[in-house]
């Protein structure tokens, strides 16, 4: 259906040439016409479009651009096409070119400064949000009727019970891997039996809670950010405020309670499964029967190790919940923000959890729980 646009040059004696166009001057049949027009040199006085079958706005624009630059007259258009051509010409507006990029050094400095500013700004906002959460908890504590029991119980299920499968599997495998690696190294000293110490102490003290926190940050922290962020976009949060429901009390408090309560339980569960995984490997590979394994665990793992894990867990939980809810509340504008904020929530939560874990390690060793 489309006849390719083409033109021929007719030189006339009255100075300047005439370009006579044929075919369809439309987007689909434009071909390399813009490039060829660029290569036309010499004066062009007139552009004859009387042979053109069809013209659309892109064709009109290409002709207009050429005519404008070469100061040529455009003629021979049908009245309807003339109308379209005039409309395109009327819509012309100088476009602003994007500013020139600055030098790489300045750009690098600007990026670093921007990142520092954003980090400080986020930290400030996060601290403010923690304060707001504390106030919301206080309000709920002084007005117990405002506590959302059903929402909280529902969160218990989503954050805790639904996570049992994946956390169990992960902990079991980690227990197996630690025992296996420990056994390989300790065998060199003939001290394979210390594998039990390794598995028992490291899972209860560190890995159980830490891995659970990372898993919950990925599962629930991200979900909080995405849910609250989407609610922000659809103006649900604003609707809540106008009805007199505080989003902090309705959304943040139940989620925080759920994670703070569930993380110690999940962490303990994770440690137990990790020990079972390690015990299984000890039985299969080192020939230590389960009964001996359990006895040995009772001898070498002090109760302090359990407390270390259980004290850290609620703090980690609070960090995960607050980071998720905070990032969700920061969503503004478009759907892309939801994705970005969700990522930030998870990264922030895991980072803070690991930093705090290091502090806890120093603290507990200072008070003698080693």
């Amino acid at each position: 259906m489309s006849v390719l646009a083409d033109f021929e040059r007719v030189d006339s004696d009255s100075g300047g040439a005439v370009l006579r166009f044929t075919g369809n001057l439309s987007l689909a049949s434009l071909g390399d016409l813009p490039d060829r027009l660029d290569r036309v040199d010499g004066q062009v006085a007139r552009i004859d479009l009387s042979q053109v079958a069809r013209i659309d706005t892109v064709g009109a624009w290409v002709i207009h651009r050429f005519a404008r630059d070469r100061e040529a007259a455009v003629e021979g258009l049908q009245p309807a096409s003339r109308h379209l051509f005039d409309q395109v010409v009327a819509a012309e507006h100088p476009i602003e070119l994007p500013p020139k990029p600055e030098s790489p050094f300045v750009h690098l400095l600007a990026e670093i400064g921007d990142a520092v500013f954003t980090a400080m700004h986020t930290l400030y906002g996060l601290l403010g949000f923690m304060g707001a959460t504390v106030i919301a908890f206080w309000n709920v504590a002084t007005h117990p009727r405002r506590f959302r029991f059903h929402a909280t119980v529902h969160r218990f299920e989503v954050v805790g019970v639904s996570a049992l499968g994946i956390i169990g599997l992960m902990s079991f495998l980690i227990g197996v891997v630690i025992a296996q690696q420990g056994a390989v190294q300790l065998r060199q000293f003939g001290a394979e039996v210390y594998t039990i110490n390794l598995v028992g102490r490291i899972t209860l003290r560190e890995l159980g809670v830490l891995m659970t926190a990372i898993m919950v940050a990925g599962r629930s922290g991200s979900a909080f950010a995405a849910q609250i962020g989407t609610m922000k976009l659809t103006e649900e949060i604003d609707a809540m405020r106008t009805i007199g429901v505080s989003p902090m009390e309705a959304l943040v408090v139940p989620r925080t309670i759920a994670v703070v309560t569930m993380l110690p339980l999940l962490g303990f569960y994770s440690a137990l499964i990790g020990i079972i995984g390690g015990g299984l490997l000890c039985w299969v590979q080192l020939g230590i029967p389960p009964i001996t394994f359990v006895q040995r665990i009772r001898e070498v793992v002090p109760l302090d190790d359990l407390w270390v894990g259980l004290i850290k867990a609620p703090v980690f939980g609070a960090i995960i919940a607050i980071a998720g809810c905070f990032q969700g509340m920061q969503v503004e504008g478009d759907a892309e923000q939801v994705g970005r904020r969700t990522t930030t929530a998870v990264v922030q939560a895991i980072f803070l959890v690991i930093v705090l874990d290091a502090f806890f390690a120093v603290f507990f060793s200072q008070i003698g729980w080693i």
Binding site: L27, V88, A91, H93, I95, E96, A335
Partner: protein, 273 residues
């Protein structure tokens, strides 16, 4: 009164739907629906909520596969086409979705350039920028809107930006899904005017879904009424008013319908005087 009268010749029919049946699971939306859209007309599609106006549009543009029936656009069957053949038809139409459906990570000008880049990769960047700029201005947006992101635009501006993208390829056929919904009356009237003037300038055929009675009176050449899972009538508004269908009577003769008539009459009187 059920089937549209096949008065126009086959060449003049841009969209031809015959015996269309669509649905989701057990729920049937259309059953035995027939519709013709003639070249160069603005066809308004009306119907109560849930009568499947948007589903009809989605079936025509191939976003939803009908259970049975024929759909021809530009004389070619659109159901079950190869991807390459479907693409050839797709570049001849433009669609304005209800919310604008602009790509939120791109500026308005870049949004307009997306279909151009997709279908005509040989165009150089400078020409693309220029095309983006004049399309934006042609749809009545201020030139400053071109480098903005959709999140920075008002609802009415988003619709215009969406229209600019729908018109990027200079299509022959334009689908508008409730273009004036959510606009203030002045903005809605301006959008109607824009649609009519672009239709005249570019020689478009327009398939327009609307709830807006003012739009129907102001710019539609014919109106198709969806009810009882089919198109129960197509015609000019006076022709529809002559019919004795309860929904049509209530739609056009309800309080809002009468207000729209009064408005359009006053407008015409003003034009004369």
């Amino acid at each position: 009164m059920s089937a549209p009268a096949p008065s126009a010749s086959r060449d003049d029919i841009v969209i031809r739907v015959r015996n269309l049946k669509t649905g989701f699971g057990d729920q049937i939306v259309h059953d035995g629906l027939d519709l013709d859209v003639r070249r160069g007309e603005i066809l308004g599609v009306v119907g109560g909520s849930g009568t499947g106006k948007s589903v009809l549009m989605r079936s025509i543009i191939g976003l939803q596969t009908p259970i049975e029936g024929e759909i021809e656009v530009f004389g070619e069957n659109t159901i079950g086409r190869e991807e390459t053949e479907a693409t050839a038809i797709r570049r001849r139409w433009g669609i304005l979705f209800q919310g604008g459906a602009l790509f939120s990570t791109l500026t308005v000008s870049e949004n307009v350039q997306v279909p151009l880049k997709e279908y005509y990769p040989q165009l150089d960047q400078a020409l693309l920028e220029e095309i983006g700029a004049y399309k934006v201005v042609m749809t009545g947006l201020p030139p400053e809107a071109a480098p903005k992101y959709p999140a920075e635009l008002s609802g009415g501006m988003k619709k215009r930006a969406g229209l600019a993208r729908a018109l990027a390829l200079d299509p022959e056929l334009l689908f508008l899904d409730e273009p004036t919904a959510g606009l203030d009356p002045i903005g809605a009237a301006a959008f109607d005017e824009l649609t009519a003037s672009l239709q005249k300038t570019l020689g478009l055929t327009v398939f327009l879904i609307t709830h807006d009675l003012d739009t129907l009176y102001a710019i539609c050449d014919r109106v198709a009424v969806l009810a009882d899972r089919k198109v129960i009538a197509v015609g000019t508004i006076p022709e529809l008013l002559a019919l004795d269908h309860p929904w049509i009577q209530e739609y056009f003769n309800g309080p809002r319908g009468r207000a729209a008539v009064a408005g359009s009459k006053a407008h015409r009187a003003e034009d004369r005087g």
